[in-house]
Amino acid sequence: MKEDFKVERAEGRAEAEGRGEVRISNDVLAVITGIAAGEIPGVTGMAGGFVENISEKLGRHDLRRGVKIEKQDDTVSVALYISVEYGCRIPEAARQLQVKVKEAVENMTDLEVTAVDVHVQEVVFPAKKRDDASGSRREGRDD
């Protein structure tokens, strides 16, 4: 029965009218959140834990990194662990991030987002960011 579909590994849920259930996994919500977070100016990236940092160093880019989703019935609360660029106004960037994530998740999944908690874990200096990208920490200092 194709119409009576279910996705087993799912925790978020959206009702499809009379044709069964659509369940959206927490991983999908985390990916939506991660992509939305990347679009905010001033947010340089997501801050992961020890294991996530190691897998990032090994070249595995995970969009769920630094995102925690908690679901209760049809509501979702999101916790984001981010790093920001030095000089950006954190209250403004955080507010933009919260609005963007709330809109993205609600538009795409029809779930209600009750809270988006932002954890600013580190501040990245522009020079450091540039050095990291080029793979050299001493670039520009030897001149």
Binding site: A47, F50, S77, V78, S83, V84, Y86, G87, R89, I90, P91, A94, R95, Q98, V99, K102, A115, V116, D117, V118, H119, V120, Q121, E122, V123, F125
Partner: protein
Amino acid sequence: MTSTLPRRGDEVETRGERTGASLGLSSFLRGLLLGGVAAAFLGFQVGDYLSRRPVFVFDTGYGSVRVSREALESIFVGGIEAATDVVAARVRVRRKRGRMRINLWLYLEHDASVEDTVSGAVSILYSGMRDLGDTDVPPVELVIEDITRI
């Protein structure tokens, strides 16, 4: 066909046999090495956890914003080091019982005016705190630990 296995009562020549003392020492050293690695890993994890604990929290209506100790220290250091006559700065932030304690180490140019630089650094600290949140800045205890001319 003769068997090469020793029989009971045969004298068996052994080479490089390890005594109980050497066995004990090697296992002790191995344990010490493993213990050291485990302690270093644990220490790193605890340090990482402590540096990422929030020290500044405010609410925007959509949820809370929590700024970690490491982030706050980076903001302060960046602001102070951008000032003229400051070669380097080190800041340590602690939050205890609703108060914020900031320890400051300043490294200045050899001909810098200490009064001007310190007052500039202090105003940078306070303006940095005000810029962070729309809510009230918690009471701050500022301790200037050291000023060094370089």
